[in-house]
């Protein structure tokens, strides 16, 4: 079986303006969303308490809310099933956060003995700040590391193009999380960074072909070379991402609530990763003015592809 039996190269580069325009629009929309609505940060970053409580029967959220009336700013919602509730408490200045979960649980148990604690997470303010700092630092380090590697392995234009394309993915993932106000937690951040490393692969594979083509297709123009490289790697791109997506979809369906947003971030990242590394990175490389002379060095230093 074969999905892509393409005889002629698809002129991707002539769509360059169009695809870049789409990217630009989504990118700007994402940035605007992030600026206006912001992210719905999980307690990993904001600090606070989250409790998951399981009941032996279907629960009435309103009843739970009223039994927790004495505790200010408490939010109660269903979680996963109709027998599970998620209770959130923000950080408070004077109360020891670690104690608060016990107060809530004893209040709930007093009301309904079938209440059973499934999970408690409490994050103090200092920890949240550190996680934000470490997260940003990790993002920076990943970007620099990948750029450095691509610059050594290929050329600075490729490095720049790849990192622009992939940071554009990251911003779009964040844009989705902002638009739907999905909870941005530590595992989501991990997913975003993993996507960053993963979708750069895509650019690498295309760049590899471009470099090879510069050596083999001596008579072709730069856009022709890039079109050929993209067309010939397209089958692999779609199949690889499809397989990874199969796994991620499985996580989305079977992984439960704990892995839900993690898998969601990966899904968006993978889908936009295909698009951006092919249709964003390559035009940028072209516009940055890559030429045959950058790769076809004097005979002595030529290496086998």
């Amino acid at each position: 079986m074969e999905f892509f039996r393409i005889k002629k190269d698809i002129p991707f580069m002539s769509y360059g303006r169009f695809t870049t325009a789409i990217s630009l629009v989504t990118f700007i929309a994402a940035v605007l969303l992030l600026a206006t609505r912001g992210l719905h940060f999980g307690i990993d970053f904001t600090g606070g308490t989250v409790m998951e409580v399981h009941y032996g029967h279907i629960v009435d959220i309103e009843k739970i809310r009223s039994s927790l009336k004495s505790i200010p700013d408490v939010s109660v919602q269903n979680f996963g099933t109709s027998q599970d509730v998620l209770i959130r408490l923000p950080l408070k200045a004077n109360v020891s956060g670690a104690r608060e979960s016990e107060i809530v649980l004893s209040a709930l148990k007093g009301e309904d003995p079938s209440a059973q604690m499934r999970r408690v997470e409490f994050v103090g303010p200092q920890v949240g700040k550190e996680l934000v700092a470490n997260g940003s630092l990790a993002l920076l380090l990943v970007s620099l590391g990948i750029m450095g590697y691509l610059a050594i392995r290929f050329e600075w234009r490729f490095a720049l193009a790849a990192i622009i394309a992939n940071l554009h993915d990251v911003v779009i993932i964040l844009g989705f999380f902002s638009f739907f106000q999905w909870e941005f937690s530590l595992p989501v951040l991990a997913a975003v960074l993993a996507v960053l490393g993963y979708s750069v692969n895509e650019s690498v594979v295309v760049f590899d072909r471009i470099r090879e083509n510069f050596r083999t297709m001596r008579k072709s123009t730069v856009p022709e070379i890039i079109n050929n490289a993209i067309t010939r790697t397209m089958s692999r791109t779609v199949i690889t991402h499809g397989c990874t997506q199969l796994m991620v979809t499985s996580m989305l369906f079977f992984g439960g609530a704990a892995l839900h947003y993690f898998a969601l971030a990966l899904t968006i990242g993978i889908l936009f990763g295909i698009y951006s590394s092919v249709l964003v990175a390559s035009p940028i490389v072209m516009w940055l003015g890559v030429s045959r002379a950058d790769f076809v060095k004097p005979e002595k230093r030529a290496e086998a592809g």
């Binding site: 079986m1 020891s96 999970r119 470490n134 530590l186």
Partner: protein, 604 residues
């Protein structure tokens, strides 16, 4: 062509067999068990205990499935958690307070696997259930407390030396002393610099007021802080031991934090209570006048208490409290400067010093007992003979101690209280049912994803797809084996990492298969196409894996807790996938196609 030399095939086979053996324990699962360990030096965990425990279980009609003795602990396996819980209660009641009986899980794998050191993966708290605390030690308070102690001692010193001062107070981390004349100030300065080498003196003043400001030397601040965290860890460890947790983790994290992980603990309220509690020290007089044997027989004299020392020997102690541990500022192991014997040096505060001086003056030749009272249970840490009246608050306990005993006693005297206040700044508690849920969800995600990929790859690439699937299976096997061998903590994000790595690892095989098709399209012969496909795809595989590896390593360095686990699995999976996707799949292809003339490849 397309044949691996024998050594290469043998190596691949060897790695796979090792992978199989070391991932095998995960299939056997774990059975409920109780773990018995000793709390005191006198209660031994030995074969005698094994028979005792076996008899206790037999008389309680509880069936165990095996008793295992390792150097420090005794583990008893049971069929069901029900028996396990019953057995725990029975054993704890009968063994008494000298032993800790904790619930645990023990690998069910056969003995030959265990003898190879093959263990199942170490599950994190989000998978097995338990409590994770991150505690912040208040370092500023540690320094302030140290300065408060110094303040009290200096005040007593000045009073003893008849040096006049008009005022002494602590301001922040400084002590300011005011003197009415220069003479007193000079005398005090020389006395203080002699007695308190950790303090830095700066004099100031003119006219009628002379002042001296004392600050801690930077090295002293550091040693106070290091000491504070060490002592807090020691205290926490002692307390956790009493919770009866099978495999607690108590570790320093960074300069001023302590991680406490208590697998299997459900009652967080109790855990927090015990971790936050302060044990107390008391000094009593020993009653050597009454008959100890009669007391052991049950006739404890009025106003006395029969206690045990660290070695389990009975000792008769008066109930009247002479001094409480609040008055102990510090205890350090050291040496008696006359006899050069190991000793413990104790520093009392000014009130303590006064009481102590009085007591020792009245009781020369008698014994005093230092008691550690924890959860209402008293134990005699040490019971030295009073040789002479002791003033000045500097007490030395010596005689019949080894240096390590002196160290232990000093530690115990200090461990009574925390050196600095601690606060829980992060808590993650996962109930056991959620833990089990998480395992099955993580497992299902991986399983169904794997099946989906297998079906697709086999349909799309036929024989080569099947080989890719086998290689992917080998990758999973190796990944699980390495995780089992390294005993790295596997968390739910870690399980997601396994699934994701598998989804990404198939990329290498897709690259190879696409290259082979490419070569075939260009009219290359099947054998040459296989060779070229593998050779030329390798560079690309390397490149794409390295970028993911960079991301994984950054996550590992900066990630905390669950994210670190994910990053570890991601990095590991990339490395194992390089082996399985390239070498294992090639070896299989070589076996299938390598030794013969091939007209057509079954690659779809």
């Amino acid at each position: 062509m397309n044949r691996y030399p024998l050594w290469k095939n043998a190596l691949i086979a060897l790695v796979l067999v090792a992978g199989l053996i070391y991932s095998l324990p995960n299939l056997f699962g774990e059975s409920p068990a109780v773990q018995i360990s000793s709390t005191t030096g006198s209660a031994k965990v030995d074969t005698a205990l094994v028979t005792r425990v076996e008899n206790m279980l037999k008389s309680a009609n509880l069936q165990d499935t095996g008793v295992y003795l390792d150097p420090a602990t005794l583990k008893v396996r049971f069929k069901s958690t029900d028996t396990q819980l019953k057995a725990k209660d029975v054993l704890q009641n009968q063994l008494g307070q000298d032993y800790v009986v904790a619930l645990n899980l023990v690998s069910r794998s056969p003995a030959w696997l265990q003898s190879l050191g093959a263990l199942p993966m170490y599950l994190g708290l989000d998978l097995r259930g338990g409590v994770h605390f991150l505690m912040q030690v208040d370092m500023k308070a540690a320094v302030t407390m140290a300065m408060d102690r110094n303040l009290g001692e200096i005040r007593a010193d000045l009073r003893d030396g008849d040096i006049h001062y008009s005022g002494i107070m602590r301001q922040g981390d400084e002590i300011d002393i005011k003197f009415p004349d220069k003479d007193s100030a000079d005398k005090a300065s020389s006395e203080i610099s002699k007695q308190f080498p950790d303090l830095l003196l700066t004099g100031s003043g003119s006219g009628s007021e002379y002042g001296v400001t004392l600050t801690l030397k930077p090295a002293a601040v550091k040693s106070i802080q290091d000491f504070a965290i060490q002592q807090n860890i020691t205290t926490l460890r002692n307390r956790v031991n009493e919770l009866g947790v099978a495999e607690p983790i108590i570790q320093q994290q960074g300069a001023d934090r302590v991680v406490v992980e208590l697998p299997g603990v459900q009652d967080t309220a109790k855990a927090k209570d015990i971790l936050g509690r302060t044990a107390t020290l008391e000094i009593h007089m020993v009653d050597d006048e009454h008959d100890l044997k009669a007391a052991i027989a049950g006739e404890v004299p009025f106003g006395d208490e029969l206690l045990k020392d660290r070695d389990g020997n009975p000792i008769l102690v008066k109930k009247n409290v002479v001094l409480t541990g609040e008055h102990i500022n510090d205890a350090k192991p050291g040496f008696d400067n006359r006899t050069n014997e190991a000793a413990v040096h104790i520093n009392l505060d000014s009130t303590g010093s006064r009481i102590f001086k009085q007591i020792t003056a009245d009781n020369v030749g008698k014994r005093m007992a230092i008691l550690l009272i924890d959860r209402g249970r008293a134990e005699v840490v040490t019971a030295p003979v009073i040789r002479e009246e002791i003033g000045g608050g500097r007490v030395q306990i010596s005689g019949h101690m080894t240096t390590s005993e002196a160290h232990d006693v000093a530690l115990l005297l200090r461990a009574g209280a925390l050196a600095a206040p601690m606060e829980i700044i992060e808590e993650r508690t996962v109930g056991p049912s959620l833990g089990a849920d998480n395992i099955s969800k993580g497992f299902d995600s991986t399983l169904f994803g794997f099946i989906a990929i297998s079906i697709f790859m086999t349909i799309y690439y036929l024989a080569f797809g099947l080989v890719s699937v086998v290689a992917l299976g080998a990758n999973l096997l190796l990944l699980v084996a390495v995780l089992s061998i390294s005993q790295a903590t596997l968390t739910l994000p870690g399980m997601a990492g396994i699934a994701l790595t598998l989804g990404m690892a198939i990329d290498a095989n897709v690259l190879i298969n696409e290259r082979i098709r490419d070569e075939l399209r260009n009219g290359v012969s099947p054998q040459a196409a296989i060779n070229a496909g593998y050779e030329r795809a390798f560079g690309t595989i390397m490149d794409s894996n390295i970028t993911t590896l960079i991301a994984g390593m950054a996550l590992f360095i900066f990630g905390s807790g669950p994210v670190k686990g994910f990053a570890f699995v991601l990095c590991l999976g990339i490395l194992t996938s390089m082996f399985s996707a390239v070498l294992v799949s090639r070896a299989i292809i070589n076996f299938a196609y390598g030794r013969r003339r091939v007209a057509k490849l079954l690659i779809g």
